[in-house]
Amino acid sequence: MASIELKNIVKDFGDVKALENLNLSIDEGEFIVILGPSGAGKTTTLKLIAGIEELTSGQLLIDGCDAASMKPADRDITMVFETYALYPHMTVWENMATPLRGRGSQMDPAAIDARVQKIARILRMEEYMTRLPSQLSGGQKQRVAMGRAMVREPKIFLLDEPLNHVDAKIREELRKELHLLRHTIKSTVVYVTHDYIEALSLGQRIAIINKGRIEQIGTPWDVYFRPANLFVASHIGQPEVNRFVGRSRLDGSSVHIDFPDLGHEIVLPSGQFPNDNMDGQKIVAGLRPQHVRLSETQDERYQLPAEIVIRENLRTELDLVLRTGKVKLTALESPEKDLPEGQQMFLHLPEKHLMFFSKNTESRIDYQPGN
């Protein structure tokens, strides 16, 4: 186990700024996920930690020591890549044992076997130890690659999109294995992905990165329910969060927010916005599709008329796109309610699930809904 601290890290590739002033401190033994779209700087961050790339400026501390003075080999780090490179002529056992059998290894054969068997058990590869890589499925090969990285129990374990190239079923299964791994290995783990489900499922904390900058660092619950800005809100969750542009004004102790494109106004107590002056602010409200409520009849709550323009029954959920005013929004319903396209509905946008962002800065506005 080791702590990792990235301080004011800048990384340029020629004229291209890959990382701009990145700050991130990772605790000893933590499982942290770096989440972001392609080109965000995720893999570059991993390579800097591993010592494969050199940083342009800033400081990297491993266990409090400046990594600039450490050779990559001395950092006690292993890295697993998106594509697994196994030795084709070696069995699963031999592939997994290589890091322990290298030159200068002090381990005796019995200890090596015990270690390999232990990791094989965790990854459920015990039955395949005598097979060659060509006799394995893609998911199994990826397990062997992970197992080979794990046998040494390095201080730091870096994983770069390890589930990217396996199909959906295996991904689901390996995600579960990785989950169990969190309890069984003592290494500090930095895991890179572009898949928000993997990030939510696996990370003790998630660092969301975009264009070389960190947008938010927080627990899965934080980044999902209290996204720091619009980027985080729309990058986490599928279908994407609905957005409505509005303008707020203060009237006594009430905040009125008018959404002209929606033809709708909401009124909330100003006390629910403890840190912002809500008078005359341009606002973006966010609401996740799961929280849009629909009714076939209009009443006090279900006021907004909307027409279903797209309906997709995915059998486990019904995805709807509705048009109301000048706005299109997405809603999820239970698949039993097989509502047809063209159907007139009425919307309710529950206040307690709304999120608010400043239109100009795109940052979250602190909002504490009542119950």
Binding site: A168, K169, E172, K176, H179, I197, S201, G237
Partner: protein, 377 residues
Amino acid sequence: MASVSLKNVKKTYRSGLEEVVAVENINLDIMDGELLVLLGPSGCGKSTTMRMIAGLEKITAGDIHINKRRVNDLNPSRRNIAMAFETYALYTHMTAAENLGFCLRARKVPKAEIDAKVSKIAKMLQLESILDKRPSELSGGHQQRLSLGRALIRNPDVFLLDEPLSHLDAKLRVQIRAEIRWLHNKLNTTMVYVTHDQIEALALADRIAIMNFGNLQQVGTPAEVFDRPANRYVATFLGEPAMNIVPGVLSTNQGTCSVNIIGKDVNLSPAKDLTSLFTAKAPDSTLSIGIRPQDITLMTGSETSADQQPLISGIVKVVEFIGEKYILTTRVKDEEIVSIHDSINGLREGDKAVLQFDKRKLHFFEDNDTGNAIRWE
């Protein structure tokens, strides 16, 4: 518009001395105006099947008819088929309008007619504002639409799409998917759509043909293949997380029919069509039981089981928070049961969980390699 029919179509390749079967004796009738999705994992033969329809692959045996005309020996160009690929090969030196009109110009269609068709297609696909731009200036979504437009402008009998969305990011994929569906509703062109993504298939298809190892597993509407999968393969391929498959043992006791699922006796007696199952099978025969993660309810402990639905309990191995929902993996005896819930009442790994499943939603499969479904009501 046209129907497409495949009769005993087979495709084998020679690989060294070995003969490899890519597609095994496939029978499939695609109806006029239908959107049929060929779904399966990589290597299952779905793209080969499409390429045989297009005429890009010669068939080894069988017959293919398009619009009741046998096309086995017809060149691709004479089948009046349009194809859109995963990568949209647009002409980079031409504007969007020139790309759209290219094949009509090549056929020496009069200019006025080309212009009329281009503007009609552009209007339909909302490409009017970008007609003067070159592909490199367009977003991925516009490029994909342009590629669809270029294929459609020829007014093909059959429109083939090979994984057209797999290179797009998640957001755009959902958007273009809806556009393809909309386009199909509008044009009523017969479409054959190849994908490995079950969500795409469920969202788009009039019917889905599921393939594995060169064999057709099932053809049906999304509701049919999802709710009444023909075999264990189809059952576990569709749906996320995948359907749980656990062993079960039949037992008949004083006229009641029950099945033992992971040590729990579940009475199925009111079920009408089960008689056939119990007469065909000896008591104590083993089956595979399928339970969808969505059909499992997490009990909080205080309530009693509603409608005498069976309860099973185990120890939670993995809790996954995935946003609005939680995925639980619970160890019950030697089995692992995956379930998905809106809330889990603070349950943690290592805790005991009581799960209730809906016995009306159980799936039964033969306990053998094929795992054919055993129907019941």
